[in-house]
């Protein structure tokens, strides 16, 4: 079980690097699907079965299909490298590395590597999530539905022919 976590964590990191490194958007999108699916497995191992299923259906299914659809609709080809900023080339990688090291140091200070709590009985069945969602989080749920409605209307208006 624990070994599976590290295998899929490594897969997620490699695929994430591929998302950033690929020059063609379709390859980036396919790599992102690999990231999302391996994260779904990680969620499964962390005891979040419902979220893992949602991740595959909504993220890897709906959202990424939308991305691939738009990429193919706009016929997005290879990205042409531009050499406008010299500072980005020399400072970029060290700054990214410094950022990562800083976050990792903060994590390690706060939660030393051995700190696992005894697994408290976490009931993550869909029924438990549904109870919590419709008791304690009813208002956010309703607000979310309005947000989705606004998003649909906005997308229709924005994608209209005449602008």
């Amino acid at each position: 079980m624990v070994v599976l976590f590290y295998i899929f964590a490594a897969l997620a990191v490699i695929a994430a690097l591929s998302v950033v490194a690929q020059r063609t958007p379709v390859y980036s999108a396919l790599s992102l699907i690999v990231v999302l699916c391996s994260l779904a497995v990680v969620y499964l191992l962390l005891g979040a079965e419902f979220i893992a299923v949602i991740q595959v259906i909504v993220y890897a299914g709906a959202i990424m299909v939308l991305f691939v659809f738009v990429i193919m609709l706009l016929n997005a080809g290879r990205e042409v490298p531009s050499h406008r900023s010299r500072m980005a080339r020399w400072l970029g990688a060290p700054l990214v590395a410094a950022f990562l090291v800083e976050i990792l140091l903060a994590v390690w200070q706060q939660f030393p590597a051995g700190s696992t709590r005894p697994a408290s009985s976490l009931d993550a069945a869909p029924a438990a999530i549904g109870h919590l969602l419709f008791r304690n989080y009813v208002l956010p749920f309703e607000v979310t539905s309005i947000l989705v409605l606004v998003a649909i209307l906005g997308a229709v208006v924005l994608a209209k022919k005449e602008f």
Partner: protein
């Protein structure tokens, strides 16, 4: 059982990769995908803490983040299509003025 620190380390790594892609890439669709990558890194941290604290609230937050990400992807991609119609480019260096 996986230590929380390792989950958070994976989350931080994915977030930093996404942030780097957001800054370095020139194609607006790739930039958008890097935002999705960062959202997923945050979701992973939520799930890790939910497991660590034995509390379901974190998983509900992930649920809401996924819904918001779906809405964001819809509107964002519609904006990209509208931009492409007007400017005929996906390169963010050519999209540097606010007016259509």
């Amino acid at each position: 059982m996986v230590p929380l620190a390792h989950v958070l380390a994976l989350s931080a790594t994915l977030f930093v990769i996404g942030a780097a892609g957001f800054v370095f890439r020139k194609n607006i669709i790739t930039v958008f995908m890097c935002i999705e990558l960062m959202l997923n890194a945050v979701n992973l941290a939520f799930i890790g803490f939910s497991r660590y604290l034995g509390n379901l609230d974190g998983q509900l937050f992930v649920f809401f983040v996924i819904v918001v990400a779906a809405a964001e992807a819809t509107v964002g991609l519609a904006i990209i299509i509208a931009l492409y119609r007007n400017r005929n480019t996906l390169n963010i260096e050519d999209l540097d003025s606010m007016k259509m």
